[in-house]
Symmetry: C2
Subunit: 440 residues, 2 copies
């Protein structure tokens, strides 16, 4: 096509173009008109959460005759060398190195589409030194958990949201599309296979961390759209998610380190958001803090805490109105977190009479002013890995700003939200967000 024939509207290059491309692949998952109440970018929904067989429709893209990712074709090779399960509370469990007995992998090429996925013994990957993902960060992932409930059942939490987001992330870095429901079926199958042994029924309240990952595995150094990719899913032991009883200590970022920017990829769960944050994170830890509180722009807008979303509860300056505030999704610089979304939805549903739920840009100066005037009520980080973590202190412009909390519990609302979520995750409350894994 001659450049002069380029249409005036280069809309395929836009973020909307990507969303449109996702919608073509998975129209049933990504429904921007679904009336989700939490913001301008509510692309992800989890209307159907009853189980794998009732999951989202697998809709192969009409434009592609190549095989789609198809969980029904999964081949299964069980391990002959079962691994031992680390004791609860052991350093081994906390190392984030110990994976379960099995993993799932699936290969994709641009010429042949998705190959048959395989469930097989956990083990190393073999990549050529020229593999795209080792040079160009052509990689994305999800973070989820498998919960052993107090009712004895294994559950995922709103997994459709993760699977849809994984597709969005993959597309942001030119990795292949797939039907999110097929990814969900594969995740469920791995959980069903290893969950019984690794999360025994006599240890309710335990969990495993689930890491679906996609990498470009082309053995070619050209900087170009990947022609080969590998999807893999692993289950990892994880330290208990109880945070410091005194709350997280955050260090507000300075202007010379920015996590994400408009037109970038801060909203996608791509590797490129993480590696570049580690220097600042490492320095913060060396200074005695837990995480960076990432600010953006010359006004110091509050965005994320470490790799989690961030919330404050304050009273407004003018009217003293109680508000739960978090940054909006509109500029696409923060992650549309599943925990973030759940907090907003629960707060709107159950706390609406007590506090106002607000998604808006807000600055660190506003938070500092509220703290100094005694209007800062609570603050917490929210994400899958470390769940709801109360914040006890923010270091900003040379000052330690204390945030009120009850030691070991966090603030009243933080604790309430955390409890509601835990009850759903571990089956104390039957809820459509809990996705039960059937065990044999």
């Amino acid at each position: 096509m001659a450049p002069s024939a380029v249409p005036q509207d280069d809309s395929t290059l836009t973020a909307n173009g990507i969303a449109s491309s996702i919608a073509k692949t998975a129209p049933s998952v990504l429904d921007s008109s679904s009336g989700q109440s939490n913001g301008t970018s509510a692309l992800l929904t989890d209307k159907i959460t009853n189980g794998p067989s009732n999951g989202l429709k697998s809709t192969p893209s009409a434009s592609s005759p190549l095989p789609e990712l198809d969980a029904s074709k999964l081949t299964i090779t069980l391990t002959q060398n079962p691994r031992s399960v680390p004791a609860a509370g052991s350093p081994e469990q906390a190392s984030q190195k110990v994976c379960t007995d099995h993993m799932i992998t699936a290969q994709w090429t641009s010429s042949s589409g998705w190959a048959v996925p395989e469930l097989k013994p956990y083990g190393p990957l073999t990549l050529m030194p020229t593999a795209s993902c080792l040079h160009y960060a052509t990689e994305c992932f999800e973070g989820m958990k498998l919960y052993r409930g107090f009712d004895g059942k294994l559950r995922l939490f709103r997994p459709n949201l993760n699977c849809a987001r994984m597709l969005m992330s993959a597309n942001r870095i030119a990795l292949p599309s797939f039907p999110p429901t097929e990814l969900l079926k594969l995740i469920a199958k791995l959980c069903e296979t290893d969950g019984g042994k690794w999360l025994p029924k006599d240890q309710p309240g335990s969990f495993l961390y689930i890491r679906p990952t996609m990498i470009a595995s082309d053995p070619a150094l050209g900087v170009q759209r990947p022609k080969e990719a590998t999807l893999f899913i692993i289950l990892t032991c994880f330290p208990p998610m109880d945070s410091d009883p005194k709350g997280l200590k955050l260090l507000a970022s300075k202007n010379d380190m920015v996590r994400a920017w408009p037109g970038g990829f801060g909203y996608a769960k791509v590797g490129a958001n993480y590696g570049p944050s580690l220097v600042a994170q490492g320095e913060a830890r060396a200074l005695g803090f837990d995480q960076i509180l990432w600010l953006f722009g010359k006004n110091g807008e509050v965005t994320e805490a470490g790799a989690s979303n961030f919330f404050v509860i304050w009273r407004t300056k003018d009217e003293g109105k109680l508000q739960l505030v978090t940054a909006p999704l509109g500029e696409k610089i923060i992650l549309d977190g599943v925990t973030r979304r759940s907090v907003l939805e629960l707060a709107r549903e159950k706390l609406g009479g007590e506090l106002e739920v607000v998604e808006r840009k807000y600055t660190m100066a506003e938070v500092a002013e509220a703290q100094q005037e005694g209007r800062l009520v609570e603050a917490f980080a929210a994400g899958t890995a470390f769940f709801i973590a109360p914040v006890g202190l923010i270091h900003y412009h040379g000052n330690d700003l204390g945030v009120p909390l009850e030691e070991g519990k966090g603030g009243k609302y933080t604790y309430q939200l955390k409890t509601w979520l835990k009850d759903i995750m571990w089956g104390n409350q039957q809820h459509e967000w809990g996705y039960v894994i059937e065990e044999k």
Copy 2:
């Protein structure tokens, strides 16, 4: 350390802090007071280019008693299964998939420092599925070339600059430090080993692409500073670097796709700059363009073309003065390219009487205005992989802006600069920038 003991000046968190940390490791390489004439961030110098044994001093950091990367300890295992060299001009040569017979690897751990580097047969890497680099883009690289000169010699081009930049890139994503001169010695050794066979003396004017890479190989999912890393160096066949005789066709980026941001990492050669650019690049190619011309900010400042630096030559509006213009390094959103630097230095030295060399912010609107008023003289992209590539067209705001060039040669100055550089690279001119690899 208690958070309240945090110093008022958190300077270790700043970009300057990183530069300072680099300077401690490699003071002889990174000399910001060296009087380099090209800009505010002239961290890299190549004063000493006579050969590995006269190279930069290896200065182990005083704070670390752990073993440094040490090329003198290299172990050598030659291949028993030599690979065949693709014919010049073959699709195999152009695939960027064919590597030479050998590679060099070196392992690092935070507890043991650098292990003995190994030269060994080229082959796959084995990584656990939990490896940091597969999830968090903890990876950086360099791009260099090995030239077979018309005088029969093998040469690198200003390799000290690449080795120093690799250290800077590694530090930007929390990968370990190393003495750049040791990296250079390892590169030279691999080139010496494979250069004779893969760049025969009867094929002057040929080259191989050199890819030093460092990845975090920790098998642990924690988002944290890497505790294990792997350095590897490979040599790859590459397509001839003659570009389209009609020049590159560039598509100016729109606001919703931004390559880099102040406080980010656009100046470092880290994977995170590449994967997220592939969607825009793929769409540009589908529309018939070669690359994206990345603009930044609401004023549309011109930054890079694809993964190359970008230059225009124009006459000024007021005085009609001839200028060679490129974006400055100050905001750290563009790469301090070795070709960019060399172009600036040669132009200042040899073309100073004819044109003014200017590093300043300039906008796409200025370029378009110059084009419309007949003041745009030439434009080219400059980088190692595709060298000096004349630009023939820029698509911006719905218009195709033609750039003058002589078919097959580019503009007069572009061609002149390219010729001078080629003469140094392939030994038609003996120059301190040419780094000769001694062959046995």
